[in-house]
């Protein structure tokens, strides 16, 4: 028994009375690491110099940044970016679940069709897909809604239906589905085979087993990478500025095309992207905690644990035992 535990020995009635051994607290002098302090100071000085160079630059008009941050055109673009992100991600998640179910299905045709889809949409650049969907009217000038091989129905011009926004949602959504399918598939196959056997043994069909047993557990492994995908999507929406979809980047581009405050407006856009991705990161933490019911992993969410993780540990390491 260690000397430190001697004090508890009597309370727990461990049978071995050790009253004569004094408590020996560990009051050691923390180890010093001057190298860590030196490198931290060098790093901070460099960061400070860089920040000063930006802040004091005569070529950046910071008041303009503040002014355009809440300009109506910018806020409209911001709103559209949010709508675009959620619409495309929703298509991606639904499509991803369908594709993942196809890839693990016993039907070889479904399996290979899903495989081909993933191969095509992951293997070509998202930017090309966006431009392609925007120009889909070049292949199919008209869209016919109605009964096939008859004239009953309505015929519309493709370019009327496929606005830049619609093209953006379709392109980003279909592209995302290919990535989401891999995430969903990984989540499903991470569940122990005993779970589906137990579900089968109480008479659940394959579909019921998926819905009530496998997917609810797979969600826990699916949520974190999906959050990453959503954050990626927030930024990827800027790609659709090539088809002028009026989202955040397009909005600021149109402003700086007129007033030439290029850097200032790019800073405005960057600030908003950072705000959105930060919110998404925090929300992801809460979602993870919600789906952690019944799991052993300790919950972590919110900005406070994030700050603690970033600075608390660094402080503890450098202080060498100051926090215990």
């Amino acid at each position: 028994m260690s000397p430190g535990a001697a004090g508890h020995g009597q309370d727990e009635g461990s049978g071995t009375p050790l009253p004569s051994i004094p408590l020996l607290p560990v009051e050691a002098v923390p180890a010093r690491y001057p190298g860590r302090w030196a490198s931290a100071i060098v790093c901070l000085v460099l960061v400070a110099l860089l920040a000063r160079a930006f802040v004091e630059s005569p070529h950046i008009q910071w008041p303009a940044v503040a002014e355009y941050l809440t300009a109506e055109a910018v806020l409209n673009g911001l709103w559209l970016t949010i709508v675009l992100t959620f619409a495309a991600q929703a298509i991606g998640i639904v499509g991803g679940i369908i594709l993942a179910t196809m890839t693990i299905s016993p039907n070889p045709v479904l399996k290979s069709v899903a495989g081909a889809y993933i191969w095509l949409f992951r293997g070509t650049p998202a930017l090309i897909q966006i431009i392609f969907w925007f120009n889909i009217g070049l292949i199919f000038p008209d869209i016919f809604l109605g009964i096939p091989w008859t004239d009953i129905g309505i015929k519309v011009e493709t370019n009327v239906v496929i606005t830049p926004l619609i093209a953006a949602v379709i392109a980003l959504g279909l592209n995302e589905a290919a990535y989401m399918s891999e995430i969903v598939r990984a989540g499903i196959i991470s569940i122990d085979r005993g779970q589906s056997e137990a579900a089968a043994a109480i008479g659940l069909t394959h579909g019921q087993s998926m819905r009530y047993v496998i997917l609810p557990q797979a969600v826990r492994t699916i949520i974190p990478p999906t959050g990453n995908e959503l954050i990626g999507m927030l930024k990827n929406t800027s790609l659709v500025s090539v088809i002028s979809a009026q989202e955040l980047l397009t909005s600021v581009q149109q402003i700086y095309a007129m007033n030439f405050l290029t850097i200032e407006l790019l800073i405005v856009a960057s600030i908003w992207y950072l705000v959105m991705t930060t919110f998404a990161t925090v929300a992801q933490g809460y979602l993870e905690r919600f789906f952690d019911r019944g799991a052993r992993r300790p919950a972590r969410a919110g900005i406070a644990p994030l700050l603690r993780a970033l600075f608390g540990r660094a402080g503890r390491r450098m202080g060498g035992g100051a926090h215990q």
Binding site: D192, G194, Q195, E197, A198, A199, A200, A201, I202, G203, L204, T205, H206, Q208, Y212, V213, P216, Q217, R220, R293, G294, A295, R296
Partner: protein, 252 residues
């Protein structure tokens, strides 16, 4: 009519023959223990009974119905998934590794089958779950998640989950092998009580004392074949096959 009738069952994994000409009938209310060394095919045979594994030859009937297939016009037809699932309601299964659903509470684990398969309403299912938990000695533990329960408690919830489907036949696949020694007896106690209620049970186990006290018949497998069967005392005390003797000598 026999509750289980297995006739000349064969099964191979690639070139490895895991079951060779297994024929076994189990009467209603009978408790049969399957004994034998690891890899003798006991668990595989158990899993074939509710069609978690397919057999390559032979026929298995549960309660007079062919498992996994249907005979029409002299030809065997594979059953559709829904029919296989429906067939599995007749048999409850308890696994070595419990396989409770970790995202559901103990009560929800028990209620899932009745709710989704039998279409029982929530209130009735909850009441039944509570009664089953009491029966396995876990009154009031319904809201606990599996990870909050000990291994023995988890296995008793798993037994309750299987019983919730009101099966005619209960299959136990080494139900105590994953448990700490001091937790084994609480699970065997529940199984003993279940046997006393007249439940038909097939138990793969290494617990010789349980086999001796509770089983009506023990069946010894080795190398995928049934090498010996009979009353527990006869087989366990005076085995006629040298392989049985060797196995018992090792495991007692």
């Amino acid at each position: 009519m026999s509750l289980l009738r297995a006739e000349h069952v064969h099964k191979t994994y690639g070139s490895l023959e895991v079951l060779h000409d297994i024929s076994l009938t189990v009467e209603k209310g009978e408790v049969v223990c399957l004994l034998g060394p690891s890899g003798s095919g006991k668990s595989t045979f158990l899993r074939c009974i509710n069609h978690l594994e397919r057999i390559d030859a032979g026929r298995i009937h549960v309660d007079g119905k062919l498992v996994g297939y249907e005979e029409r016009n002299g030809r065997l037809h594979e059953l559709k998934e829904a029919a296989i699932s429906a067939g599995r309601r007749q048999t409850g299964m308890v696994f070595q590794s419990f396989n409770l659903f970790p995202h559901l509470t103990a009560a929800e684990n028990i209620m899932l089958g009745p709710r989704r398969v039998l279409g029982v309403n929530a209130a009735t299912a909850a009441a039944e779950a509570e009664a089953l938990l009491e029966r396995v000695g876990l009154k009031g533990r319904g809201p606990s998640y599996p990870r909050q329960l000990s291994g023995g408690q988890q296995q008793r919830v798993a037994i309750a989950r299987a019983l919730a489907m009101k099966p005619k036949l209960m299959l136990f696949d080494e139900p105590t092998s994953a448990l700490d020694p001091q937790l084994v007896s609480e699970v065997l106690g529940v199984m003993r009580e279940l046997a006393d209620t007249g439940m038909t049970m097939i138990v793969v186990t290494h617990e010789m004392a349980f086999a001796r006290d509770v089983a009506d018949r023990v069946v010894v497998l080795a190398g995928g074949r049934i090498i010996e069967q009979g009353a527990p005392r006869t087989v366990l005390d005076t085995p006629s096959d040298p392989r049985t003797a060797a196995f018992l000598g090792k495991s007692i």
